[in-house]
Amino acid sequence: MKTIAFVEDDLGILDVARFIFERAGYTIRLHHSAGSLLSQLHSNPDIFILDKQLPDMDGLDLCRRLKTNADTSAIPVLMLSANPQIKSLASAAGADAVMEKPFEIKDLLSVVSQLTSSRHN
């Protein structure tokens, strides 16, 4: 079973993410801040899904940090944001994929499936 680390400051979106991914057969670890994720990186997930707006760090900076850390650089990062400029910003930060909020669940699941399967192939 693939594991997702989902980092988002909004409780509502964390809740709905749990519904979406558990129903699709994933294990999901929810983090409401960058600090919470970074302190629990002892077992790496199969994908990081990051919001841009986090309480303790910009999600793009968190993405850069994960991509420059040898232990996590190979793990795909999907950036999620309501910011319309997210596409260009996320690409510059080294994210593997980007999705604007609000999203279609089937698109989200399809991107996550592609990113997690390509990693192991």
């Binding site: 509502g12 809740d15 519904f19 979406i20 707006q53 303790d56 910011n83 609000p102």
Partner: protein, 407 residues
């Protein structure tokens, strides 16, 4: 006895001057002397007329100079090569240069680099067509700060009707630009804030649809309940925006009725507890206390203060809601164990569009209208609103409203 000869200087059938010749002793004027003096009077007129015209011109110039220097717009004159030939006092004040410094400069030195090209195009069109134009642009002050202006530019011509330069009236529009910027920023923030609950609503909508297709209805009740909570968040956000607009248009009204503040607080705490089960809510109720209040507006204030506590405090922490009778009336406070608010931010936190610097740096959002609206609602209840906080120690927001004396 003395002798005198008066020769009137007449122009257009009016005596304009009188040429007077006196003799200290009695004297009989000869006719050729009278003819000579009459001739002299005629010649003197030309000189006097010229002096009069010069006086008028001088007065007129003084008049225009006073108008130009009293103007609350910058006025300056440039040559075709861009040299600044003249600048009024106001323009020197706008930019912080002395008149002497300005006269050593070219107009391009004053224009923000990003606005130079459109200025060249405007000036070149004006020289070709001979028509005035206006343009919004940024100027650079001596201290390198930016000043937004609208420049009204009119061509100047020589006697052969060839363009020689331009006269520019420069109006400071920095306040208008600041309002525009604030409005754009607000739209961008409000869109982001609306998209967050919309994301949850849309996702739950899709999940409900999928669940119905699968025929698995066990989770439906829970999903629809959660979806409704996010719809309430959206409604609250939209209401805050609309109420602020009503306040600005003086259309915001409250309907005061007798109500039990304790009952209202209990209701709002329950609602928020449901929406944020990760927090520990502690309610210190007061005994039934009646006030004259608008139930909907005061409910908005309570929701706003509690949801702020939820937003800025760590998960699992305690939010305390306290209600007590004081001399001034009933005092309601909401205390969290969150990141706290600096003293500087506390001074401005009830201002419209204000978002605390600490919160912005921490990436937390808000549209900057909630507390402003709370303040206005409490003032309309003849009450007071306030905050006490220290960084890292949590925050208490409180308000007092006069209570109805117990019989």
């Amino acid at each position: 006895m003395r002798a005198a000869l008066y020769v009137p200087i007449v122009k257009e059938q009016q005596v304009r001057y009188l040429l007077c010749i006196y003799h200290n002793d009695p004297y009989q004027w000869f006719s050729d002397q009278v003819v000579l003096l009459t001739e002299l009077a005629g010649r003197t007129w030309n000189k006097l007329a010229r002096l009069e015209a010069e006086e008028r011109l001088k007065a007129s110039e003084e008049n225009y100079k006073a108008i130009v220097n009293q103007s609350v717009s910058g006025i300056f004159k440039i040559a075709l090569d861009g040299r600044i030939l003249f600048a009024n006092e106001y323009f020197t004040k706008m930019l912080g240069y002395t008149p002497e410094e300005l006269q050593e400069m070219r107009v391009t030195d004053l224009i923000h680099p990003d606005d130079r090209e459109k200025t060249y195009i405007g000036l070149s069109n004006m020289v070709q067509t001979g028509k005035p134009f206006d343009m919004e642009k940024r100027l650079k002050r001596k201290n390198q700060s930016v000043l937004w202006v609208t420049n009204y530019v009119a061509p100047l011509f020589d006697g052969l009707k060839e363009p020689t330069g331009a006269l520019v009236v420069s109006v400071d529009i920095s306040r208008q630009k600041a309002v525009e910027l604030q409005k754009d920023e607000f739209i961008s923030i409000a869109s982001h804030e609306l998209k967050t609950p919309l994301t949850s609503v849309k996702a739950y909508g899709q999940l409900v649809q999928q669940t119905l297709k699968e025929g698995n209805t066990e989770e439906l009740d829970d999903m629809i309940g959660r979806m409704n909570l996010h719809i309430d968040r959206l409604v609250n956000l939209v209401s805050t925006i609309l109420d602020t607009t009503k306040l600005e248009r003086q259309e915001f009204s409250i309907n005061l009725e007798q109500l039990d503040i304790n009952e209202l607080i209990t209701e709002k705490v329950k609602e928020n507890q449901l929406a944020a089960p990760h927090f520990h809510f502690v309610l210190h109720p007061c005994t039934a206390l009646w006030i004259y209040g608008d139930k909907i507006s005061l409910g908005q204030v309570l929701n706003n203060l509690i949801s702020n506590a939820i937003k800025y405090a760590p998960h699992g922490s305690t939010i305390t809601i306290d209600c007590r009778q004081e001399e001034a009336g009933v005092k309601v406070s909401v205390t969290d164990q969150g990141i706290g608010i600096s003293e500087k931010d506390q001074e401005k936190i009830f201002e419209k569009y204000y978002r605390s610097v600490g919160l912005l740096e921490s990436g937390r959002s808000g549209i900057g209208l909630g507390l402003y609206l709370c303040g206005e609602i409490i003032r309309r209840h003849h009450g007071e609103i306030g905050v006490s906080s220290s960084l890292g120690q949590g925050t208490t927001f409180y308000f007092t409203i006069p209570s109805i004396p117990q019989k």
